[in-house]
């Protein structure tokens, strides 16, 4: 499986409601290493899905961006609407569609309000 297969795929929640497209993958160190994974092995832990990708791409997702003023507000608003999906909740990946076992409302927001 390649990152490209996941990036851009649309996530549907348990009731078939689209949650958004996958904008970013978060990898967490941990678990037993496998061949070629090196030490520590990095596992796909969460998918960051949201309606608009440009904010993540430009780096306004969860980074200390100090400006320029109108952009920070606008892009932060966009990013706030994206959600985190744990890989454990993913039930199936079929081409451009990812099904998860939770409902949309149960998913936590991507942006921790602190940053």
């Amino acid at each position: 499986m390649r990152a490209t297969d996941l990036l851009g795929a649309v996530v549907y929640d348990s009731e078939g409601v689209p949650v958004g497209a996958v904008r970013d993958l978060r990898l967490t160190a941990g678990g037993p290493p496998v061949p070629d994974s090196g030490r520590p092995a990095y596992r796909l832990s969460t998918l960051e899905c949201g309606p608009v990708g440009v904010a993540h791409r430009l780096g306004y997702g969860h980074r200390p961006m100090s400006g320029p003023w109108p952009l920070t507000v606008l892009l932060r608003m966009l990013v706030r609407r994206s959600v985190l999906v744990d890989w454990a909740d993913v039930t199936g990946v079929h081409g451009n569609r990812i099904d998860i076992s939770r409902r949309r409302t149960e998913l936590r927001g991507a942006v921790r309000d602190g940053s």
């Binding site: 499986m1 390649r2 990152a3 490209t4 990036l7 904008r23 970013d24 993958l25 978060r26 990898l27 967490t28 160190a29 941990g30 678990g31 037993p32 496998v34 061949p35 070629d36 994974s37 090196g38 030490r39 520590p40 092995a41 990095y42 596992r43 796909l44 832990s45 960051e48 993540h56 791409r57 780096g59 997702g61 969860h62 980074r63 890989w87 454990a88």
Partner: protein
Amino acid sequence: MKADSELSADEMLLDRQILDVDGAAIGKIDDLELTEPEDGGAPVLTAFLCGPTALGPRIGGRLGLWWAAIGRRLRPTDEAYPNRIPIGEVDCVDRAQVRLTVSRDALDADRFRDWTRDHIIGRIPGAG
């Protein structure tokens, strides 16, 4: 691989410049290879993929297909799988750079670069 405990693919890995142990440019991280272990756990990052055949799908559309096709023709064995850099050979990943533990020659040859060096640039006097 020395890196933060949690990495964002988009922010820290994808489209980053890969340097070998002596700082020579290898290419960009065009894609990531994720392998599902036998025990059925979460996919594990096993390699960086670079080269036109990896970049093609990310460009998408006709241009992407054409790009990947050119890349395939440049590969020695004409097989579609892009250049693969196992994570075991990655020294460190941080904001400044992505650095390998091995030198460029140890990796499988970049045919386009070598062809250009031998057939065009190498022939011009002063190429060093």
